[in-house]
Subunit: 375 residues, 2 copies
């Protein structure tokens, strides 16, 4: 029996947007969903209680690369797995480590069976391939395991993109072999192919044939213009198997999420809301604000007037600016709380719109307001 069940509860009549529900060993995930990134067994600055009570997150992401180096997969396993270790008793998706080791540049060498690399922490030597990644993610005990792949660079020639995609497809098959369908962990395959529509469709076909529990789209948000990213999603939208969850990895801004949902995407993750928060950039329906700006010095209004997060319910922009300027830890925390609440609440609003047969109106109004008022 599979560890993942997926049902579609509502659908935009004219397009691809859908509102679904994923059932996993550690709980239920309503889609479209945004997954906060918890790289090192913590969503930076936040507790599990913040994530459930305030942000209403239903699933978070953990990073295989970071956890295998520190504290180490064996230690996490010995402590009862990642859920118990970090006291998060809800679904977790772990990435494969592929993107992180690929990002190491000179510190890594790609071989037929995986990647040889040096730790960014202490220079120690490691090898990570499909087999190793499956074993580590098994020890971590995540609900959703990601296949080990190579992220195709941007830009890449057609031949480079084909060769990279074909290696990822071989590795995807290895991953499925090492982690067959079981009732504790689901496995998602990842579509590659760079910015070439036909390679993307060929990759999707291969992934679909392998019968993964979910379909991910990788290799986006790697430096390409937004139009190319959307064109890649457009090339796939008609071909994604409707009965499986669709996850676009590492994307993106609030308007990217809305555009993704419109192209049939159910799941998103991105470091942007949490990383930007720590740098003083806050998201609102009227675009981003920079809390450092002097104009906020005596501004008694919250970040966003109708936001229900703890930060907006209690603190003024003036106070948040003070915390940021004084380099206080609470600055990172309150800003992260708002940005992740904003992202997760935006997904709730998208789910409501699809369920209420109101998707296109919601989408158009949101995009117009968000894009016209960047302040």
């Amino acid at each position: 029996m599979s560890a993942l069940e997926f049902e579609i509860l509502a659908k935009d009549a004219e397009g691809h947007a859908r509102r679904g529900r994923i059932t996993l060993p550690h709980g239920v995930v309503d889609t479209p969903v945004f997954m906060p990134v918890g790289t090192q067994a913590t969503v930076k600055s936040l507790t599990p209680a913040d994530l459930t009570d305030d942000i209403q997150a239903s699933i978070i992401l953990g990073n295989t690369y970071h956890l295998m180096l520190r504290p180490g997969a064996d230690i996490v396993e010995k402590m009862g797995g990642l859920h118990k270790f970090m006291a998060w008793n809800h679904p977790i998706l772990t990435d494969s480590g592929g993107f992180q080791v690929w990002s190491l540049g000179d510190l890594r060498k790609i071989e037929p069976d995986g990647v040889r690399f040096q730790s960014h922490i202490d220079g120690s030597k490691w090898f990570l391939g499909p087999k190793e990644s499956m074993e580590i993610q098994r020890k971590l005990g995540s609900d959703i395991v990601m296949a080990f792949d190579e992220c195709t660079p941007y830009p890449a020639t057609y031949e480079e993109a084909r060769s990279s995609m074909e290696m990822s497809m071989r590795w995807a098959a290895d991953c499925r072999e090492h982690l067959p369908v079981n009732d504790t962990q689901a496995l998602f395959g990842i579509v590659q192919g760079g910015m070439y529509g036909d390679l993307r469709r060929e990759s999707l076909h291969a992934i679909t044939e392998m019968d993964f529990e979910g379909i991910a789209i990788g290799g986006l948000s790697v430096g390409e213009p937004k139009e190319e990213m959307l064109a890649s999603l457009d090339a796939l939208a008609d071909h994604l198997p409707v009965n499986k969850p669709h996850y676009v990895m590492g994307v993106g801004t609030p308007d990217d999420l809305i555009e993704g949902i419109d192209r049939g995407i159910d799941m998103f993750d991105c470091v942007m809301p949490s990383r930007n928060a720590r740098n003083g950039t806050l998201f609102t329906d009227d675009g981003k604000i920079n809390i450092k700006n002097l104009k906020h010095q005596t501004d008694s209004t919250p970040i966003m007037e109708d936001c229900t997060c703890y930060t907006c319910r209690n603190f003024s922009r003036a106070y948040l600016r003070h915390l940021y300027m004084a380099k206080e830890i609470l600055s990172s925390r309150l800003n992260t709380l708002h940005n992740l609440h904003y992202y997760c609440d935006l997904m709730q609003r998208a789910r409501d719109a699809i369920e209420g047969d109101n998707w296109r109106e919601f989408r158009d109004q949101f995009l117009q307001r968000y894009r016209n008022k960047q302040s």
Copy 2:
């Protein structure tokens, strides 16, 4: 009418320990009490909700020196005062800035009417004396205002200590003149006198004559051996006016607090629990633990078995060690939560012991266990 009411609810029959209650404009403070330090309008890493719900803090401390420089007393006043600015709707005590400017060393010059100094942030030039300190603390709007004094250095000759103490007494009179008894802010005088018992008593006599709403003891925990600190408290214990709250400033370790209560002290503040937390040192009844220690790497137990704080209810030492080693923000937060909970809970246990006519037994058992098992 005074902004402060103080009543004694119970007393150790044989000694000085007492369990009291202070009523202030923003709420009630049960004593003995530990006041978490919120230097820059935030108790580092924590929200007001953490302080009330988990730590059960009833009063916190703010620092005049830091707030006058950033964001500035006028800005805090414009934003509705410190309570509203930081969303803490409970009592606040502000220090006078005297200790901080004194600590600036080469960056300050002491003059008859106050201290001329340069900001540690940008080198800008400032003057702070009794009059200025009262005006700034009025703008901050704290429940308890501290008199502006000079901290006598340690070591100091008898003549240096006398001269310094006499200046502080003149400044104390100036503070009372600039902040007469009123119904919104109480003013505490500060006893100085270095490590000389007769100067301490002379200073206490002067402060008592000036009729402050509370009596503070300053100039301790400035480098002297613990025995000298306790001897200074011993020199005063029989002479402290029983009908006023007694506050020893900047002290100290858990056992210092118990020793202080035993000498008639009602109020404490110290950066130790919060600063040590950020450095990975955690307090327990069995002494301090260093979470960095390799022996905690796979330790599934909490910091302290019977602790009821959020950190101990949810996380293992192994996880806390991981967060510390990975330099995660959540490390500072979870450690601070535990240490401040520990300090405030220790005061609750002290109050219970005094009320239950069990003070001496509690004191002896605590000190023996705490001091014998530093691990």
